[in-house]
């Protein structure tokens, strides 16, 4: 009988901290799941000079932090990190490993899963524990129009990646205590066969539509280029970004890079306001990760209206004007 305490591991992805808080969000989710299987929540991180992250992870709910620090781990390395996590997982046998679906995580996690001979579910939007104590992984499938409930019944660890912003982090709490387990780097750790030649941090960009908490999307139903411009006023008021459908881009009402669709940007705002969009599949597939959709259309049977949390049967342009007015009146100075 295995006397070791069960564990849920969260991979510490700190490269873009503070902007990217997915590790903290996963620690919060792990804390939500762990009591149901009497597990402890652990963070695992590799690199150099990691003390601030160790402290941060403990303050956000890590009961234990495994740390491997070495100058050769200073730069993120998919292959080296994958071998390290594989070996650690073999030593400590966690029930579950959660990885943030950052660019790095999405390349790293599949390789770890393959090395461990286990399953991996990509981009989970929900994680639960089943009656049998398994990790229920809820992930979008088929262009995001379907959600699949996935389990890994016979292989361990159970692995999932989760997109940033999916879960809420626990507020920072300095009272929390955690154990820090420092592990030496293994001497036989292979060199990464991929060599990093240059690594330049990109200048902080303006808010991208993909990350915007509010997206205002418009379609041909807005009526004209002039009326479409009102959507920008609404977005400004809400700290959001404007997107649109292909016909609107073709008509020159909107720049191509603001196209929301399968061939354009995929969005996941907290609120999506959809104005005069009927809802062609190429567009809706890129909006299914929106938390809450308010759609406005004269036609109550439009696909977008059926997909929405709130379907407003009205002229898109007129309703936009009324909403701007209503919002201005309510925003506290």
């Amino acid at each position: 009988m295995n006397t070791k305490k069960r564990a849920i591991w969260v991979f510490g992805d700190y490269r873009n901290y503070f902007q990217n808080r997915v590790t903290l969000q996963l620690l919060a989710k792990a804390n939500d799941l762990a009591p149901k299987i009497s597990a402890e929540v652990c963070a695992v991180l590799f690199g150099q000079g990691l003390d601030q992250y160790v402290a941060e992870y403990i303050a956000h709910g890590a009961q234990k932090v495994y740390v491997v620090e070495h100058r050769s781990l200073k730069n993120y390395s998919v292959e080296k990190y994958a071998v390290l996590l594989e070996r650690l997982a073999n030593d400590y046998q966690p029930e579950t490993i959660l990885v943030g679906a950052t660019s790095f995580g999405k390349e790293f996690a599949p390789r770890v899963a393959k090395r461990l001979g286990t399953g991996l579910t990509a981009d989970c939007i929900g994680l639960k524990i089943t009656e049998d104590g398994l990790l229920l992984q809820i992930a979008p499938s088929f262009g995001g129009n379907l959600l699949a409930e996935i389990i890994t019944p016979n292989h361990r660890p159970q692995m999932a990646t989760v997109r940033p912003g999916t879960f809420q982090e626990i507020p920072h709490n300095n009272e929390l205590r955690g154990e820090v387990v420092r592990l030496p780097i293994q001497k036989d750790l292979p060199e990464d066969r991929v060599r990093l030649i240059a690594n330049e941090r990109q200048a902080q960009r303006d808010q991208r539509i993909e990350d915007a908490p509010v997206v205002v999307c418009g379609g041909r139903g807005m009526g004209s280029k002039k009326k479409f411009k009102k959507l920008f006023d609404l977005a400004d008021l809400m700290g959001g970004e404007v997107g649109g459908t292909r016909p609107v881009v073709y008509a020159g009402w909107l720049d191509t890079d603001a196209l929301v669709g399968q061939a354009g940007k995929h969005i996941k705002p907290k609120i999506l306001l959809s104005f005069g969009i009927s809802g062609a599949i190429q567009h809706t597939a890129a909006t299914t990760e929106a938390d809450f959709i308010i759609a406005v259309n004269k036609n109550p049977n439009a696909t977008m209206m059926k997909m929405a949390d709130v379907a407003v049967v009205a002229d898109a342009s007129q309703f936009c004007t009324a909403l701007i007015k209503g919002l201005k009146a309510r925003i506290q100075a």
Binding site: A122, P140, E149, R193, L323
Partner: protein, 266 residues
């Protein structure tokens, strides 16, 4: 429509054979990258796909555009596989059909499930260096130099061949075959069709049986929405929206909203 795709409750997978057979967008970019490499450095292009028999169409298409030959992996036992067994199956096919390969190019993800996991797992299976989400690549002797944007970092990377690269849709502009070229290609395509037995793969190690992940259920992502319908004058609806969802809106826009709003009397 995609959301009406049939869900096969017996095998617990999507019936992809009933979906439209078309080349995945990112794979078209990977193929274009292969054409550009061939033009500059020479080489043979072999395209491989796994899927229902009709997936052969994308191999015709690739051949019509300039690929040298195609390999279709199709077998009922291969159906419903997750990325773990898919990468395993592809690796065995590559080892059998083109063991002396220099470079494996993959689309960075599929447009249907978008897991982006097969490429990195295939690199593990073949035990070669691999780099995902590549936007530019050039080859010097046996070294590939690649550029990509990874999270907020512009990275320049190098690896020695043989290696594996997954290509983004930003990498290039894929060409499209003209109909006449396509028709010519239908005349004499060099396409091999292989099943599990041809690759020496036991049924329990591939497809739905061999997959570590199991799908319990699939449902429409919108099924659980309430779909509240609001009608009336624009102003009345706006008031109703704020009354019911003011907290949610306030949270998203990070601004306090007056909860009890009364229009100013003139």
């Amino acid at each position: 429509m995609v959301s009406e795709l049939p869900w096969d409750s017996k095998t617990g997978t999507l019936r992809r054979d009933l979906a439209e057979g078309m080349m995945n967008p990112a794979c078209a970019n990977a193929l274009e990258a292969a054409f550009q490499i061939k033009r500059r450095y020479g080489g043979d292009i072999i395209t491989i796909t796994m899927g229902p028999p009709m997936a052969e169409e994308v191999l015709y298409e690739a051949t019509a555009m300039g690929a040298d030959r195609g390999v279709l992996l199709t077998d009922p036992y291969m159906a419903g596989g997750d990325t773990f067994v898919t990468s395993h199956t592809l690796a065995r096919a590559i080892e059998k059909e083109c063991p002396d390969f220099d470079l494996v190019l993959c689309g960075c993800h599929t447009s249907d499930s978008e897991t982006a996991q097969v490429g990195p797992q295939l690199a593990e299976e073949l035990d070669i260096p691999g780099v995902a989400y590549v936007e530019q690549l050039e080859i010097n002797n046996r070294t590939v130099r690649m550029q990509r944007l990874s999270d907020n970092f512009f990275e320049t990377l190098e690896m020695d061949l043989p290696g594996l690269v997954t290509v983004t849709t930003q990498a290039n502009a894929p060409r499209y075959p003209s109909l006449s070229v396509l028709e010519t290609a239908f005349g004499k395509p060099d396409i091999s069709i292989l099943g599990a037995a041809d690759l020496g793969l036991e049924p329990e190690t591939i497809g739905v049986q061999g997959s570590p992940t199991k799908i319990l259920d699939v449902y429409s992502s919108t099924a659980k929405k309430k779909n509240l319908i609001m009608k009336g004058t624009a102003k009345k609806i706006v008031d109703e929206v704020f009354e019911k969802f003011g907290d949610r809106i306030s949270g998203a826009i990070k601004k306090d909203l007056k909860t009890h709003y009364h229009e100013k009397k003139p």
